[in-house]
Subunit: 139 residues, 6 copies
């Protein structure tokens, strides 16, 4: 299996509901350094997994909907705890939708698997990995 990984970041505010979160129930924030790994079994005719410039632009677009925002007030996230795990899934779904729309180019249709990792500090991160199939971004 081949893969390519691209990195970007976002800076957000949020708060969590639930005693398990302790002081993180207060409004606070995070820098998420985001790695997206795109996997396919064979390379295309150019010798690549995907057009890396398009993958980076798609990631920038996905993150721009969250970047420099208070996630407690983002309608599409209403009623959910925007933990690192949940946000890894949100980024995954956004990238999967971009692939389905063709934003990463026609060759990206061969991508079979994707892993999204959000590094929230030098000592903690969260990931979501799944197969990539064209589907509505429901959860």
């Amino acid at each position: 299996m081949y893969s390519v990984t691209v990195r970007d970041h976002m800076m957000i505010a949020h708060s969590f509901k639930g005693q398990v979160f302790g002081p993180a129930q207060r409004l606070h924030g995070a820098t998420f350094v985001v790695d997206v790994e795109l996997k396919r079994p064979d390379l295309d005719g150019d010798g690549i997994v995907v057009d890396i410039a398009r993958a980076m632009e798609a990631l920038r677009q996905v993150l721009s909907e969250l970047n420099f925002r208070n996630l407690d007030e983002v309608p599409s996230l209403a009623g959910r705890n925007t933990t690192s795990e949940v946000l890894a899934r949100v980024v995954f779904d956004g990238m999967a939708a971009a692939i389905a729309r063709g934003d990463l180019g026609p060759g990206a249709a061969a991508i079979e698997q994707m892993r999204v990792t959000l590094h929230e500090s030098h000592i903690a991160s969260a990931s979501f990995e799944d197969r990539v199939v064209a589907r509505p971004s429901s959860r």
Copy 2:
């Protein structure tokens, strides 16, 4: 699959038996920066893989049995080469036992897979990954 990874470290002395180890047969030491990745297919009702504070405390406890010690004199490790690979397994078993005891909370029972990585320098690391099932820490 979702995952959460937490990081801590330990500083130990040890020596190895076997010609393959060359100068590492002498008493020397290492800092191991330890990453523990906990995986489960779905998130709990709070939107998390596990209570990250509990996971970090469990890891600190597991490492405290080895930290600042000469592993050549730790009874539970007697007769074994405490290579990075072997220690990755020791940390894995310690974390699995903590999960089985409920130290990471009841939700941790949903953890299916765990990967432990020990970084021994900027150019070398070792990992052990396996399914997590409740079992005595024997090997």
Copy 3:
């Protein structure tokens, strides 16, 4: 000149006032990975710059006043833009006060210089460095 550097982090929300900040005028957040470097010309009788455990505890204390908070609502920061640069100074002043109080031990009185760096992402950081002298934390 000898130095010792310790690292910790904090996760905060804030917003900035001023057109120069663009989208960062909105409420957002950051993880700051914080490095504190303590410098002195000679080592003490134990061969150290400072008791590193005390330095880490002092840093944890300084960060705990800001960690998991919305800095827009922290009274001691009212009316200021809590940029990375400003926060580097706030951490500097907090550590300098801890040294002056003796929290890092009597040997810490020999510390002459301190540098505080806040890493806000994988591509940006800010620092404040100055001489360390006992003084009130006013600015």
Copy 4:
């Protein structure tokens, strides 16, 4: 599953053919920081996945055929785009051949899986992972 990862690097020039590469169609270059992860289900009698010194030497040998060269002029790569993905495969095949020749010692015959990652910058990397079986280095 156990694994050991070793790191080295190479510095090469190359150019790409194909509009998808944009300015990278010009002659340019890269530092590739290369991680090779070797996996096997059980450890040998010494408690290791592989003799790490031999693994590092084998990697150094594989990279030495490419290091400090213009890959556009390396005969064995003629007619191919030497993308990070393709080079990950080239390093994989070189390491697999070294294992098959016994360069990593007889115990390395138990290695079942290998993952090669080339970091081309702080924001992009490529990997190739596959089972390891004795075979000619054809592609």
Copy 5:
């Protein structure tokens, strides 16, 4: 002294003249991860060293003149060994010129010192640091 550091990168080909360079006399290449640290004694009225977005854009512009090129054929570098040290100076001069032109905003005139670091691999880097004064980019 306050400072802000921004990071970007470039990927270039080049060769060196001189026996001291050994195999690096051949045409090869490098990824340079570039850190630019800008220093001034006091913050401006917004609480910043410099508009970080403008600093990143200026760095991108400076690197774009070298990025994805064979430096052996860049006229402005003719007759010089484009070592990491020399390129650190080239980036320094480019950023100093951008500051002098006002590209980083009027507040950047207060910048007194700049340090440019080029990371050429995980084990080697080079830096150039100097005072910043408006001057022609001669060397």
Copy 6:
């Protein structure tokens, strides 16, 4: 001022004397990732601070006297606490002696300043920086 930094590592055992060290009074160990930064005001005729291959070899030699050893039994260190700070100085003195002997080449005589940093974990490091002058390695 120009500088070049090279990185290597060593893995040692040791123990400390003094209540301030707490559990580190026991025999334990560390991996030290070592950075040596060499500084001079101007480059030589080849456009370099120093022959980087010779600098790396000199560092390897200096570390080889300590690597894979129990520092409590190294005669030249008898009676001293081999803290990170003290070892930074030991490496500094070893590199300064190598420069004085000409091991880094005649051009290295122009090196004016050196900084040695030992990273003992992902959260702590120690440095020693001083002018470089030919002198006996007394302390």
